[in-house]
Subunit: 190 residues, 2 copies
């Protein structure tokens, strides 16, 4: 998606160790018009997967997931990283290593909002090692739901996430695919 | 706002101790169409405050803030509760007690995205004791920005938040104002 790639080139910063800083329009400050355009693009790419629910992970997945959900007219569930007191005692929980946090995080979903028979579209900000998305896949599977698609704003192709998700045999869409980051240069796969 | 009040009556649950569970459409599962309508309503109520930026707190403030930002065509910054590695060493940080978490949380904003001269509209999911919003006010003030309005999806009028924000002398708008919760009954102020 040209608009997103342009923004990454203009404002993204390679912090080293594979970390791309996009805090000015995705991860701390959000450009809602760009997010809306990304949500619309996802809605087009996934219009034929018959999703019944969108699943994401707090925190940075929320903005793109909610915008995609608006265009597809679907509810969106965001997996929590700590259990709020409003959640029932019986929950779905999985562990996922977080590269940017440098530790293992919990991903928690209430059975109230993810059940058997759901067709789940996963939307997140990054597809890198794929570990967070794989955690969301496990939560959906243990709930008895079926994964029907995976979308990420930005893919770092050199971290191999797409390969570890390939066995799911669902469409994987990324709006900007970064193949390498060298110094101040960010290179796209296409 | 009638649509939001109806949804609260239909699906909100009084968990006791002043906790209102709205996990089915705001706090865990999000109804994007309702959030979009709430964002539009906020954009109308704050159309004359000349805001240049929207400020919210992760996690549950993000969806309503991003939708409001879309309708007002403004960037939105969400205060983080832990410092990500992409943030500079010098940050704005304040502490705020969280009723639902039962502990003190940090609210952190990068000086890169909140500066002197900004006119800040605060949007959050709840206005209860007002402590989280007051934390956001402090962050904006220390950045040299000016608060021009405060909006919350749901106000619990019996927790006094509006009073502790009154000294700011800015419009405070809540889309649903709850005056009491007794057993299974939720009563609105209007």
């Amino acid at each position: 998606m040209e608009k997103l790639r342009e923004r990454i080139l203009a404002e993204g910063k390679n912090l080293g160790n594979g970390i791309l800083k996009v805090d000015g329009f995705i991860n701390h400050q959000v450009d809602p018009v760009l997010m809306d355009a990304c949500g619309q693009e996802f809605s087009l790419r996934f219009q034929n997967v018959s999703a019944t629910k969108i699943l994401t992970a707090e925190i940075s997945g929320i903005a793109p997931a909610v915008m995609t959900a608006l265009h597809l007219n679907l509810p969106v569930v965001y997996a929590r990283k700590s259990k709020p007191i409003t959640m029932p005692d019986q929950i779905f929980l999985t562990l996922a290593p977080s590269h940017t946090k440098g530790r293992i995080v919990e991903l928690i979903v209430s059975p109230e909002y993810l059940g058997a028979g759901e067709r789940v579209l996963i939307i997140d900000d990054f597809l890198a090692s794929g570990q967070t998305i794989l955690g969301l896949v496990r939560l959906a599977q243990v709930a008895g739901a079926k994964i029907v698609g995976i979308g990420a704003l930005i893919e770092k192709t050199f971290e191999g996430g797409r390969d570890i998700l390939a066995h799911l045999n669902v469409p994987i869409e990324a709006l900007a695919r970064i193949s390498a980051m060298e110094g101040e240069q960010i290179l796209f796969a296409e």
